[in-house]
């Protein structure tokens, strides 16, 4: 794998986290994401999720552009959005619990990716 591949993984994780946050703010998917779990810590933040979601997605775009330059970077971002959205849609249908856990794991993964890329 190429050097800095952690950062490419971070782009995907940011895209997934952003889309999962969007889904979290939508009626039908909110039920799917929380049913397996009852009330969640995040429930109070539900109204903030769309704002946060766009924040994650813009962070993903920024990271993709810093990795690849403006042109290929925005293409990379869109590609990651498509792949993450397809994954999320399938998980929401077949394994909503896993969809939620992956969103939880995304954040430390992003931080870890930044750290590894910074120190490596």
């Amino acid at each position: 794998m190429m050097k800095g591949s952690w950062l490419y993984l971070a782009v995907f994780a940011l895209a997934y986290l952003g889309l999962a946050s969007l889904a979290y703010g939508m009626e039908r998917h909110h039920k799917q994401l929380t049913r397996a779990h009852g009330s969640s810590v995040l429930a109070a933040l539900k109204r903030l999720t769309p704002v946060a979601a766009w924040g994650w997605l813009i962070a993903a775009l920024h990271l993709a552009i810093s990795l690849e330059g403006a042109g290929p970077g925005s293409v990379l971002w869109l590609g990651n959005l498509t792949a993450a959205a397809m994954m999320l849609a399938l998980l929401l249908t077949y394994a909503p619990g896993l969809a939620r856990r992956l969103a939880m794991v995304s954040l430390p993964l992003i931080v870890l990716g930044m750290l590894v890329a910074y120190w490596a």
Partner: protein, 548 residues
Amino acid sequence: MKDAFRASMAWVHTWAGLLVCWVLLLIFAAGTASYYRNEITLWMQPELHAIAPSQDSQAHMAERAVIALQQRAPDAKQWFIGFPSERSQGLQIFWEDKLPPGVEPTRERFHDVMLNPDTGLPLEVRETKGGNFFYRLHFDLHYLPVTLARWIVGFCAMFMLVALITGVIIHRRIFKDFFTFRPGKGQRSWLDAHNITGVLALPYHLMITYTGLMLLMYLYMPTPIVVAYQGNNQAFFGELFREEPAPEPSGRAAKLTSIGNLVAQAQHIWRGSEGDGSHAKVDHMHINNPNDAAASVSLDKAGDGGLIESGMSLTFDGVSGKLLHEVDAEQRAVVQTATAMRSLHEANFAQPLLRALFFISGLGGCLMIATGAVLWAVKKRQAQARRLASGLPPTWGLRLVEGLNLGVIAGLPIAFATFFWANRILPVGLADRDEWEIHCVFIAWAAVLLLAQWRPGRHMWQLMLWLGGLMWLALPVLNAMLTPQSALLTTLRQGPAAVAGLDITAMLLGAAICFAAWRTGKVRSQLSNPRRSARPEHRPELAETEVA
């Protein structure tokens, strides 16, 4: 008013989509495979798998290529040398025969040979078109005159663009249903699947359709060139890309200058212009009128992964070795735009990860087209439920569409898998072997299409999906049995990675198709008696956007 507009758009969407969906699926599937054109070619040439990537300088390789060309075609019209890259390890030479005046040019005037870059000796590889088969199939189809084929492809692409835009217009709940997929609910599930594969990869679908039409715009919209350049395309392209027209041969023999020196010189010039010397590789070179007093040599610089290819080239006098003409990176905006569109469409700037994302989006497009076609048939069956219940057969239109759906959607995976099977099974010495690999594809596909028209039904669906799925699943097994050097366990350990990647992708595709076959067997009760949605449809023409 709004509803009337939406209904008319729904009508356009349905018919624009249905009319071209089968050819479109072929185009889309072939295009998706073309992202891995070089990797497919490598997989299909197992004789190359043991060759390690060359570490030698490009100047040395160029010298070896020239020796090989001098032996084979000393009086060709032009030579072409393609250097090894990360995605293709051989040193390629092409040449174009000189034609006597008045002779119609045909494809036969081009020849190509693959050389070992370290020795300059020809590599004995089996005859195959490899990934180029899919690449050509994508816009030239097969067995048809090229111009006709490209008009058909353009027609389908235009209809796809119309279907995409109308699809967005009639999808009322585009944001509400963004991530929604509800399986096991008959028509509703097909609509969900169609929407989700369409919407989630929408940026890709719009980009690929639009840029695809753009790539062939010189064919579809020739008028500007006809008016401004009296139809002289060469003059137009020459001015656009600031190319010097190739000089006519003088007829006087002259010794060719040292090509290796020119390569070294070009790399030196480019290093100076880049400053850091990171990318000063030659991508390919042309030698016009070799061994003639009017010889010229042009070298094109390899790109460095940006959306816009380098566009830098140098032209030298082929006898004196003097620099004649230099094109620097500063292309005009219009050329940059055209190049960016081509790059976007072909993903030739893409790193492995980005290429994989393109591939996934392409598969999404195939699913969007397939689910749309199935959806039409499921809806029609629903509309004819009473007629079917009374024991009458379906209308001829429905029967035709169901047969075509089965023949194309279940048939294409079989046809494409046949290509890879034929590559390993056909004897190496067979005459026109590369053509026979392709004939096998169409023979297999024709058989499935005929079977599908004869008995379009769920048993046939199951049978064909199982067959296609197992063919893909078993491909690595076949590969390991007939070409043990290229077996997955070997390539995973010592490369080439592309060969291992293709084996693994084949297994994943096979598993997915087998899953579809298994599901087809499971939903027996639902297809013959689809569950009605919670509320009946208010207006049949709005069924596209009915509320759950």
